[in-house]
C-alpha cells in the first residue's frame, strides 16, 4: 500500500529511451522546484488553511453584524458577492505562491455566509438559498484556482440539491442524488489516469473533485442513520444501497476482471457472496458505500480513501446495530454469528491464498 519506490526506480524499471528519461526528469524537476505552488503543498497545510479560514470568516462575519455594517438584505447580498469574487480573484495567486489561500478561502466563506443570509431573509425560504447556493458553488468550482475552494464546492453542491429535494414533495429523490454521487465517485477514480491526461491544462480540477465526491458521499449518508433527526422521513433506503452495490460491482469488475484477468464465474461468485452478506444492511446504505470506498482505496492504493472508508464503516456499522429493533441478546447473537461467518470466509481465503502461492 505504501509507495516505497523512488522516481529513479520507476523510471529505470520502465525502460525509457534516453530522450524520454531526460525530458520526464527535467519536467519533474522544474515542477517540484516551484515550492510555493499549491500543488506541492503537503495536505497538512491545506487542513490548517481550512481550519484557519473557517474560524477567521466566522469571526469576520460576527464583526460585520455587530458593527452593523450589514443591516439590510441588499447589503448582505452585495457584500457577499464582492467577497466571493475577491476570494476567486485572490486564488489565482495560488499557482505561484499559495500563502494567500487562507485569505481567499476566508473571504469566500464569509461571502457565502453573507449571501446565504441575504438571500434567505429576502426570499424567505431555504429553497431559494439552495438554488443560489448551486449557482454560487458552480461559479467557485469553475472559477477558483484553489484546491480547498473547489473541494468545499464539490461537497456543497450536493448539499444544496438535498436542500431543494427536502423542500419539495419528491424527497425520495434523495436516493438518486446519493446514488449519482456513488457512481460518480467510482467513475472518477477508475478513470483517474485518463482524466488526468484530459485535464492536463486544468490541474486544479481532479484532486478536489475526486476527494470531495467521496467525502461528500460519505457525509451525506449520515442522514440515513436516524430519520428522527431530520425533517423528512425517507424509508426506501434499499434503493441507495442497490445503486451503491452496482457501483461496487462495477469497481470490482474493473479491478478484478479487467486489470487482473479474473474469470467471470469467480467474479460473479464473489459478487453473490458480497450481496448475501450485505443484504441485511440494505436499509443502512452507509455500510455498503463505506465498503465501496474501502475497496476503492485499496484498488487505487490510496490510503486517504482507505482510512475514510474504515472510519465511516465503523460509524455506519455501529448505527446499524444500534438501530436494530432487537434485544441485546439477539443483537449479540447476530454480531457473533456475523463474526463467525467472516472468520469462515477468512479460512476460505487462506486456502485460496495457498493455492495462489503454489501456482
Amino acid at each position: 500500500m505504501k509507495t516505497t519506490k523512488t522516481i529513479k526506480n520507476v523510471f529505470d524499471e520502465s525502460g525509457l529511451s534516453e530522450n524520454d528519461y531526460r525530458s520526464y526528469s527535467g519536467f519533474l524537476q522544474s515542477k517540484l522546484s516551484s515550492t510555493g505552488s499549491e500543488t506541492n503543498a503537503p495536505w497538512f497545510i491545506k487542513i490548517i488553511t481550512i481550519i484557519g479560514a473557517w474560524f477567521g470568516s466566522l469571526l469576520f462575519s460576527g464583526s460585520l453584524f455587530i458593527a452593523r455594517i450589514v443591516q439590510s438584505e441588499e447589503s448582505m447580498i452585495t457584500l457577499g458577492a464582492i467577497f466571493i469574487i475577491t476570494g476567486i480573484i485572490l486564488s489565482y495567486t495560488n499557482k505561484k505562491n499559495h500563502l494567500l489561500d487562507s485569505v481567499s478561502l476566508s473571504l469566500s466563506i464569509l461571502g457565502q455566509i453573507l449571501l446565504g443570509f441575504g438571500i434567505g431573509t429576502k426570499a424567505g425560504g431555504i429553497k431559494q438559498v439552495c438554488y443560489a447556493g448551486i449557482a454560487v458553488q458552480s461559479i467557485i468550482y469553475l472559477g477558483a484556482q484553489s484546491y480547498t475552494q473547489k473541494f468545499i464546492s464539490v461537497m456543497l453542491i450536493p448539499a444544496c440539491f438535498l436542500g431543494i429535494i427536502w423542500n419539495s414533495t419528491f424527497f425520495e429523490a434523495t436516493h438518486f442524488l446519493i446514488g449519482a454521487l456513488s457512481i460518480a465517485s467510482v467513475l472518477i477514480w477508475t478513470g483517474e489516469i485518463t482524466l488526468q491526461i484530459r485535464l492536463k491544462k486544468h490541474p486544479y480540477f481532479f484532486v478536489p473533485t475526486a476527494y470531495g465526491l467521496v467525502l461528500g458521499l460519505l457525509l451525506i449518508l449520515l442522514i440515513s442513520i436516524n430519520n428522527k433527526f431530520f425533517m423528512v422521513n425517507i424509508y426506501h433506503w434499499y434503493i441507495t444501497s442497490l445503486i451503491s452495490f452496482f457501483s461496487l460491482t462495477f469497481l470490482l469488475y474493473k479491478s478484478l476482471c479487467q486489470n487482473l484477468g479474473l474469470r467471470r464465474t469467480t467474479f460473479w461468485l464473489t459478487v453473490i457472496v458480497i450481496a448475501v452478506i450485505l443484504s441485511p444492511t440494505a436499509q443502512t446504505p452507509g455500510v455498503i458505500t463505506s465498503l465501496m470506498v474501502i475497496v476503492l482505496g485499496f484498488a487505487k492504493s490510496n490510503r486517504v480513501l482507505l482510512t475514510l472508508g474504515i472510519l465511516f464503516l465503523a460509524i455506519y456499522l455501529i448505527s446499524f446495530y444500534y438501530s436494530l429493533q432487537q434485544t441485546l441478546l439477539i443483537k449479540s447473537i447476530i454480531l457473533m454469528s456475523t463474526g463467525a461467518l467472516l472468520i469462515g470466509i477468512y479460512s476460505v481465503l487462506a486456502m485460496i491464498k495457498k493455492k495462489v502461492a503454489i501456482t
Binding site: I7, F27, L28, K200, S301, L335
Partner: protein
C-alpha cells in the same frame, strides 16, 4: 537524473505532475502507475481481503460478547457467567499460544485476549459487587494485559494499553483524589503520553523497523500537546488562579518548541508540527480574547484577523520546513 529529485518518492503527486506534460499519453502514464505499485496484484487483493475479514470478524465477535454481557441475563448462574468470560479468554489465548506471533491472526488473537480480560474483570465486579471504582477496573486491566502487549509487538494493542493508562490516570484523580479538572491531571496525562512518545521515537531513531509507522506517535504527540494546550487555555481564562496552570502553559510552549525542533531536524513529520502550530494559534487567540476582556465588539474583527495572519504564518513556516527537509535528503 538531477540529484534533487532522484530520491523523491514516486507518489500519486508525481503521476499527477507527469500528466501535465504535453507529450504524456495514457499508456505511458498507466505504465508508470503500475510500476510504482498503485495497481495491486491478485496476491495483494487476497491478502488484503483476508486481513480485512479477519479483523472485522474478530471485532464482531468481541462486540457480540460485550453485548452479551450487557444483556442482563439473570437466569444464568454466576459460575456460568464467569466460565463464559474465562473461556472467551482461553480460546484466542490457545490460538495465539500455538501460532507464530508474527502472523496477523495471532496478533489479533492477542488483541481479543486483551479485550476479553476487561470483560472478565467487569463480570467479576458485577457478580461480587466488589465495590471497586472504575479506576481499579481500568488500572488492573492495563496491568494484567501488560505482558501480552509487550510480547505482541502489535501497535493497536499498545494503543489499547495506552488508552487504558490514560483513562486510569483521569479516573485516579477523579475517583480517588476527587479532582477532575486540575493541573495535575493534565500534567500526568502529558507525562504518560510524552514518555510513550519519547520511547517510540527513540526506538525509531535507532532504525528499528518495527517503529517505522507513524500513526501511533502522531496520536501520542497530539494527545500530549493538546492536554497541555487545554490546561494552558484554562489557566489563561481563569487568570492562573491555580499556579499549576502557569506551569502547564510553560510546559505547553516547551513541548511546541521540542516538537518543532525534533520533527523538523531529526525525524521528518510535518503533521505534528502542524498540530503544534494549531495549538499555538489557539493559545494566542485565547490571550487576545482575554486581554480584551471578552466584551469588546472589535474582538471579532481582531480575532478573525489574528487567526488568518497566524494561519498564513504557519503555512509559510510549514512550507519552509518541508523544503529544508527535502534539500537535506
Amino acid at each position: 537524473m538531477p540529484d534533487s529529485i532522484k530520491n523523491e518518492k514516486f507518489t500519486r503527486k508525481i503521476i499527477y505532475l507527469l500528466a501535465q506534460m504535453e507529450t504524456m499519453s495514457v499508456d505511458v502514464l498507466s505504465g508508470f502507475y503500475s510500476k510504482a505499485g498503485f495497481k495491486p496484484n491478485l496476491k495483494s487483493w487476497i491478502s488484503f481481503l483476508s486481513k480485512f475479514v479477519l479483523s472485522l470478524g474478530i471485532l464482531f465477535i468481541v462486540s457480540g460478547v460485550i453485548f452479551f454481557f450487557a444483556y442482563n441475563w439473570r437466569e444464568l448462574h454466576k459460575f456460568a457467567k464467569l466460565s463464559i468470560a474465562g473461556s472467551l479468554i482461553l480460546i484466542p489465548a490457545i490460538i495465539a499460544l500455538f501460532s507464530d506471533l508474527k502472523k496477523f491472526y495471532a496478533k489479533l488473537s492477542l488483541l481479543a485476549v486483551a479485550i476479553f480480560t476487561g470483560s472478565l474483570l467487569a463480570v467479576f465486579g458485577q457478580i461480587y459487587q466488589t465495590g471497586a471504582n472504575a479506576y481499579d477496573l481500568f488500572l488492573n486491566w492495563a496491568i494484567l494485559i501488560t505482558g501480552i502487549v509487550v510480547i505482541s509487538n502489535f501497535k493497536p494493542l499498545w494503543f489499547l494499553w495506552l488508552v487504558l493508562i490514560n483513562i486510569s490516570t483521569v479516573l485516579f484523580y477523579g475517583q480517588i483524589m476527587w479532582i477532575w479538572i486540575d493541573p495535575y491531571v493534565f500534567i500526568s496525562l502529558f507525562a504518560v503520553d510524552t514518555v510513550a512518545l519519547l520511547i517510540y521515537e527513540y526506538s525509531g531513531f535507532k532504525k528499528n523497523p518495527q517503529f517505522e509507522s507513524r500513526w501511533l506517535p502522531r496520536i501520542l504527540g497530539f494527545a500530549a500537546m493538546s492536554s497541555m494546550t487545554v490546561a494552558g487555555i484554562i489557566g489563561i481564562v481563569t487568570d492562573f488562579e491555580e499556579p499549576g496552570y502557569l506551569f502547564c502553559l510553560i510546559l505547553a510552549f516547551i513541548s511546541y518548541a521540542g516538537v518543532i525542533y525534533f520533527y523538523s531536524r531529526k525525524v521528518y513529520d510535518l503533521s505534528l508540527i502542524a498540530v503544534s502550530f494549531l495549538c499555538i494559534i489557539a493559545v494566542i487567540f485565547t490571550i487576545i480574547l482575554k486581554t480584551s476582556d471578552f466584551t469588546s465588539a472589535s474582538i471579532f474583527f481582531n480575532g478573525g484577523l489574528v487567526i488568518v495572519v497566524l494561519t498564513i504564518a504557519s503555512a509559510a513556516l510549514l512550507i519552509k520546513i518541508n523544503n529544508a527537509w527535502k534539500t537535506q535528503i
